[in-house]
Symmetry: C2
Subunit: 459 residues, 2 copies
């Protein structure tokens, strides 16, 4: 351990006591995430219970110039929480209180360690829901920091759209609040959106005010499969362009369906498949359903099956969310190297076709799944993380994927973020704007202690 880290830890010991941990096991747990990326050990892991403790941690680290790495649920896919340069990993799990639920204003106030499932469980009696649903049961602080989304973003938006206000401990240990409880505001620079997606490089989010949505009166879902991926995607494009507010529309290619069948005990036909969900009042859900069924059939869909049965629907979406595990189960000891591009909807079919062709021509096993209503899809390549050749091949595929996305006006990441895995794409996507990002980082974190070596310092 470096002398500065030792000094910071010593200074915090009396405040945090056994909530400042230096054991190998706990440090190791915080050295990695859900990606293939190489682990790096923190010097210690802190488990603050209050905002004042977070402040104290940041102040101690600022005093000794020790890295501070915010840690939510550890479900990052791009190495966000890996303490690249050591320091203190600040695990927010004990700051998991739901502070306020105000159904009449469609908002909740939570500490950053609250997870999405925890919040939705608590909301059940209120008739409201928190909509953003990445696959993992992520913490809301983490989801905000990566500007995360999931299957319902096409209808209800991403964390960008669902975070109304924040409390943040800035790199000098000051607490600020951003935003308000009003639906809109024209006062001041939009600091909320600066911290949403900043990946813990500008401060630690301690508290969030998030939007809630009424649980829809009626929900209807449908599954249908297509002769090929192109026609499946074209059906989605037509649906979106028609203006149907689908609540969810997910594409699973034939490989993904096979993985889901094997892992989750489904018996779906192994063909490119769309999962649809519609939310609304009764007549409206029925109207959307009819229109989309017509569009799908025009694009060659078969086996169109509607369901309003809640249990069947939950099973299907659980299988979708479990695809990370289903895919890993296909090859022992493998890790997933994931792509996560998002393109304008009109370029989606060609993007997915090209990605599929790349996988087919590669020795790696891979699948494509997507939140296709947004133009966002994931490739997942199964790699042996100890085989440099496989990593290199996955990197080659990911590179081609991103270059094509940028060429059509898209982005290198729809929802997983930059982390460590995609740092090299930051400048390719944003050009000289990266220098502006670096100036913002330097202005707010002049000592460079917040999640160092990542966005705002490199790229």
């Amino acid at each position: 351990m470096s002398p500065p880290a030792a000094a910071a830890i010593a200074g915090l010991k009396s405040l945090l006591s056994d909530r400042l941990v230096t054991s190998h096991a706990v440090r190791e747990h915080h050295s990695k995430d859900m990606s293939y990326l190489p682990a790096a050990m923190p010097d210690a892991v802190a488990f603050p219970q209050t905002e004042a403790e977070v402040q104290a941690i940041v102040q101690a680290c600022a005093e000794h110039r020790v890295p501070v790495v915010p840690y939510g649920a550890g479900s990052s896919m791009e190495g966000h929480t890996i303490p690249k340069r050591g320091g203190i990993s600040v695990d927010m799990r004990e700051m998991n209180r739901i502070l306020e639920i105000v159904p009449e204003d469609g908002l909740a106030v939570v500490q950053a360690g609250v997870t999405r499932k925890q919040l939705n469980t608590e909301l059940r009696a209120t008739g409201m829901m928190f909509s953003v649903d990445p696959g993992a049961d992520a913490s809301l602080g983490g989801m905000a920091s990566t500007r995360g989304s999931g299957t319902t973003a096409v209808r209800y938006g991403t964390m960008r759209d669902n975070v109304m206000a924040l409390r943040v401990v800035t790199p000098d240990g000051t607490v600020i609040k951003t935003g308000s409880r009003a639906r809109k505001s024209s006062t001041g620079y939009d600091l909320t959106h600066l911290f949403v997606g900043a990946e813990g490089t500008l401060g630690i989010i301690t508290e969030l005010t998030v939007r809630l949505h009424p649980i829809p009166e009626h929900v209807s879902s449908a599954v249908c499969c297509f002769p090929d991926v192109r026609r499946a995607v074209e059906a989605v494009i037509a649906t979106v362009q028609y203006g149907i507010p689908v609540a969810r529309v997910e594409l699973l290619d034939e490989t993904a369906i096979a993985n889901a069948n094997a892992y989750s005990g489904l018996r779906l036909a192994e063909a490119p498949t769309l999962f649809f969900e519609f939310h609304g009042t009764g007549a409206w859900v029925e109207e959307q359903a009819r229109i989309v069924e017509g569009i799908a059939e025009e694009h060659g869909a078969t086996g169109f099956r509607w369901s309003t049965d809640a249990e069947e629907r939950a099973g299907l979406w659980q299988a979708r969310h479990d695809l990370y595990w289903a895919t890993k189960a296909r090859r022992q000891g493998c890790e997933l190297f994931t792509g996560d591009i998002c393109v304008p909807i009109s370029r989606l079919a060609e993007s997915i076709m090209a990605a599929r062709a790349d996988i087919d021509a590669s020795p790696l096993m891979g699948q494509i799944i997507g939140h296709v209503g947004d133009g966002n899809f994931h490739t997942a390549y199964l790699i042996n993380p100890n085989d440099p050749a496989e990593i290199a091949e996955a990197e080659r595929l990911a590179e081609k994927l991103v270059e094509r996305a940028l060429a059509v006006g898209g982005t290198a990441s729809g929802e997983h973020g930059i982390g460590m895995g995609k740092l090299k794409f930051l400048r390719r996507e944003h050009g000289e704007a990266v220098d502006v990002m670096k100036r913002l980082k330097a202005a707010l974190d002049p000592l460079g202690i917040m999640n160092p070596g990542k966005m705002g310092q490199e790229g």
Copy 2:
């Protein structure tokens, strides 16, 4: 004229020729906006036609430390475009080309001087619309800079939600691009949202990529009046909480209705009135209509009148947009001193009642209108701008209005912005976060030349 301004102007003369104007009339036109705030003359007005010319202007001003004040349509209500410290007013009206319309991706790319009506006229044949509609025919660059909105924000969002990407000349004369054409992205700090609402203090927006929405298949509107303001607002709250996606819902109090009747030749009953509009497919519009009519009647609405007639509807909304002029017409030589708070929807009735009581107890004439579905409403006090006692009285009312909004978690401005008129409220609303804003301003504009003396430097 100061020697630095003279030097900057001399340096730009050969590039801009007669598009760099120092005549008194043109400077005077750019010395004020639509507010009561005191005018201030720029040293010159530039009319750039290209981004390179904007760059040259900013570079010349940076070299000589001369203020640069971006100017759109001059329809600010809070003094944004008033050159408080002189310098060059950069009028973007000649950068008014619509560069690209991509209906299949629901987006358009426009230069900053394009106005909302110009864009919608151009869009007519495409089946798409640009939704954001402040009263004035504002420029899109100006609307983005103030994070503007209007009557349809409750359904389609504000400029925050409808700007996807920007090109910006930063205060050192660099051109950057922010955002992408993808619907969502998790790459990099959210610079788009930093410039949206920055009120021209961090750079000059030269180009915007904005979201378009399909023109709805069916539109239906309704007017109804209520025995008192409280019940009108309670009907709105119930509608929003029910989850009905109203496209518009505007409140006009009895004074506003009287003004609209007089100016626009309407014959509405002089009582608190709601204008509703619904967008969607046929069955869905009908379903929304039925539900809302039921809610309104439960709250004592009378004279409920539905209309699907486009001309009648257009007349009603024009009257709504013309209220600025209708109100000014009530008193010769007066200016409007406007309030613009936004509160959580559950606190809207009490906020409006209190605002109305304040007006009734004041010698000033005033009205209340509101984009009430968002929780946003405007007070307008008719003042003689040359009578300090009347300004003081309006300030006293505005102060009370804002204090009450902040006390319930609201904001000092829903859509008009901070400008000069609301600078004093910035710290009251945002506390220490204002210091973070100042650090961002200093990082991006170290010379302090961009719209100086406003947000980022004061508050």
